[in-house]
Symmetry: C2
Subunit: 510 residues, 2 copies
Amino acid sequence: MARTPSRRAGRQERMAARAAQGALAAPYTIRKTGLFSLINDEAVAIIERNADRILDEIGMDFRGDPETLELFRKHGARVDGERVRFDPGWCRDKIKTAPRVFTQHARNPARSVQIGGDAQVYAPSFGPPFVHDMEKGRRYATLEDFKNITKLHHQLGAVNHSGGVVVEPVDVPVELRHLHMAHTHLTLNDKPFMGAVTAPERARDTVEMCRIAMGREFVDNNCVLYSVVNTNAPLVMDETMLWALKEYAQAGQCTVVSPFVLGGAMSPVSVAATLAQVLAEVMASVALTQLIRPGAPAAFGTFFSPISLKTGAPTFGTPEGTQFQMCAKTLADRLGLPFHSVGGLTAAKVPDAQAGYESQAQLMGAALAGVNFIIHATGCLEGLLTTGYEKIVMDADRCSAMQRFIGGVDFSEAAQAMDAFFEVEPGGHFLGAQHTQDNYQTAFWMGDMSDNGTYEQWAAEGAEWQHERASARVKQLLNDYEHPAMDDSIRAALDDFVARRTKEIKGGHT
Amino acid sequence: MARTPSRRAGRQERMAARAAQGALAAPYTIRKTGLFSLINDEAVAIIERNADRILDEIGMDFRGDPETLELFRKHGARVDGERVRFDPGWCRDKIKTAPRVFTQHARNPARSVQIGGDAQVYAPSFGPPFVHDMEKGRRYATLEDFKNITKLHHQLGAVNHSGGVVVEPVDVPVELRHLHMAHTHLTLNDKPFMGAVTAPERARDTVEMCRIAMGREFVDNNCVLYSVVNTNAPLVMDETMLWALKEYAQAGQCTVVSPFVLGGAMSPVSVAATLAQVLAEVMASVALTQLIRPGAPAAFGTFFSPISLKTGAPTFGTPEGTQFQMCAKTLADRLGLPFHSVGGLTAAKVPDAQAGYESQAQLMGAALAGVNFIIHATGCLEGLLTTGYEKIVMDADRCSAMQRFIGGVDFSEAAQAMDAFFEVEPGGHFLGAQHTQDNYQTAFWMGDMSDNGTYEQWAAEGAEWQHERASARVKQLLNDYEHPAMDDSIRAALDDFVARRTKEIKGGHT
């Protein structure tokens, strides 16, 4: 178990150099491969007809907001109490004003991302109240965790987004959390991020902080926030989500409508039925964004986890989860909406093999489905109840592999390397061939977190399991972290805004 | 950390019941999904032209067997020493007699597998000299390990094949190993298996043992052995492999020609160039099988692992590995040959998260590529230097998930479940719906090795990582193992054969 300090140091230096490279990586990936779709034209027609029928004959509840109901009525939907019903084709028609492709601007323009088309954006997990690391185990997350995780994502080149509630900072009062989260995203990372959806005034505060950081006029005319609004499946949008949707749509910011579905409980126990339900919920809700502000960016989101019909627990990395996602992408394409869905989900409690198998299955499914915005690509443990520190860097490595994969195969004359065959005799080797010398540094993807060496070398370096190597990498990244550049006056204005709003909110002014 | 014995027992019973079910599972899976291909017609034409040019201008060495060279010369290939060159189109023309689809018969007819077409067969790892389990760590494998592993694969429903050298039984003299391996496959498992390729007399012994188990006439007229012959890339087939190929082809048994390529060392450092090289090697070698016995079953195999151009070590679960496989499948389809390639490979030394990520990536790539025979689907550690006991049951669970995935999505009227939407109000739940009651037991895939429960329950049950649960499952399966039925006289004849041949071989008679 002896460890060679010098070798260890060399490895850390290489890792740091790699991380620095990563920080300059492309802000998103353009997919050059085809899509893996599982739904043919006939089945598409069935699902679309079923969704239309659900919206026409059953309808969807929009709760707690008479203004929304009035808006729907004015534009020809059939409103009965809080239940809204739609003639077939009505929603599809309204959705036409939403852009197929748009840019979410980061405060660092080099980090801005394309949403939709052939672009693929990889983003952190959203929502966990707990964090886990190998040293301290599982515990409630704090603002310090939120900041650490944002620092990690700033450094990881394969992660294109700073995310939203990367963990719940439970040591901060609920009504102040959105201020600290937006402040952290804007100051400790320069990638784009997500807006709060827990109350309309919190959405307004988040937009206001973006105006401070990026200029009022710019924010009023561009998408700088990307916010996920979950329906309460089946067929309900509640007051909180409705208000967030309205705030962001009015501000011209992106709303992703993502029905959160535990299949078998919140939808019927099949992929085909859940597709129709989710399509119905998304069509009605995205139509609303366009009634509020035609042209406001929106996306078709899905979160589908089949429940274990033995225990009722949600399951992840399942065949049905990926089947659902691949079919839903086709439905989103037909609506002309960018498609947002889940990445590396797992039910594992710790960064073990289960975490690896399930997260890779779900992430690879998302990559091959052509998901445009892959949320929960890094850090998920325990079905999003926990974000794992080690899991973040382990997942980021696999995001990088998937990005390379969807970049496609190079069939250029240089890549064909016919000269090499004439240079190397049968039975020889290509290590010294000119083509190898010219290309070896970039020819094949290289991960940071896999140990590919011999057993003997691995044993001599401490016989570390991947989560142990990941612990070391997390520490190294946090140690090496440097703040992204920000104008002092902007930083001061953001600090002032948080201080002022904190005082107001504590004083009872929302 | 208290453990409830009764709950634990219940779980083990459920697992045993599941394993019993598994043992009766379908012998292989028919893929109902499309293929994920990464090569378009233009690129196919480039690769095929390059392969033709390699065979025409450079040629391939067939070493140590004048008879083969004479056979090639007689049929019009250009022989120069041991180098054989081929006119463009010559190999492709000869390959036409190989069957597109064939059956490999198991001694239990219910276990026979289809090779080719839309069938997918999942098979164990091949070749590791070491085994690993959590209790005893890594050590040289023995015949007892070989037997244990064969018992596990007999019980695991998602594994369709008993494999070949599932581990090297290093406590048995090299010249006797093939006898014990074939005896084990034939007596402890009733699924189909693979033949020895290390010497022609060992191939003959293996065929002879199949004749004892399945009848001489049957074996002479049907494929009962599936054997992998590796070229020595680049562009060499050595004496040992050549002789094995000849033995099996003459006996009408299947030969898979699978160039073993560490990309960057044994082929140029690109996917495009390696594809041309592998296509050339496979075409020339499969053509030989057809010269020996037209109509003998054959398959197009690949094993491509990009080497780390920093350390020279092979890497697994990489984007290029999967890209290569998906492109090669298209090339195999164009030759009309079944396609054989790798499944759950990993460089991990232990059943950790790296093992999970890498194995899932490679296995999912194989499943979506439409690989007909997925070798190394279970058990791989350390890039096939080690078979892991826990890894076998962990991987088998993911094979089962992939099989469900490629079964496709059910869009039938029953699966659409429109009645359920009229039964459950918006905001309600579907747990009690008639459709759920009717379908919940089979609606969604359920794994054996994932813990999907709550953190609290998981902690109360011992906070086991997946490899710890896998250890328990391995013990349970070995404990529950029952011999498959075999006629006493056949068993006695097999025992006699092994005893007689052992005496002969020790006496110097091969």
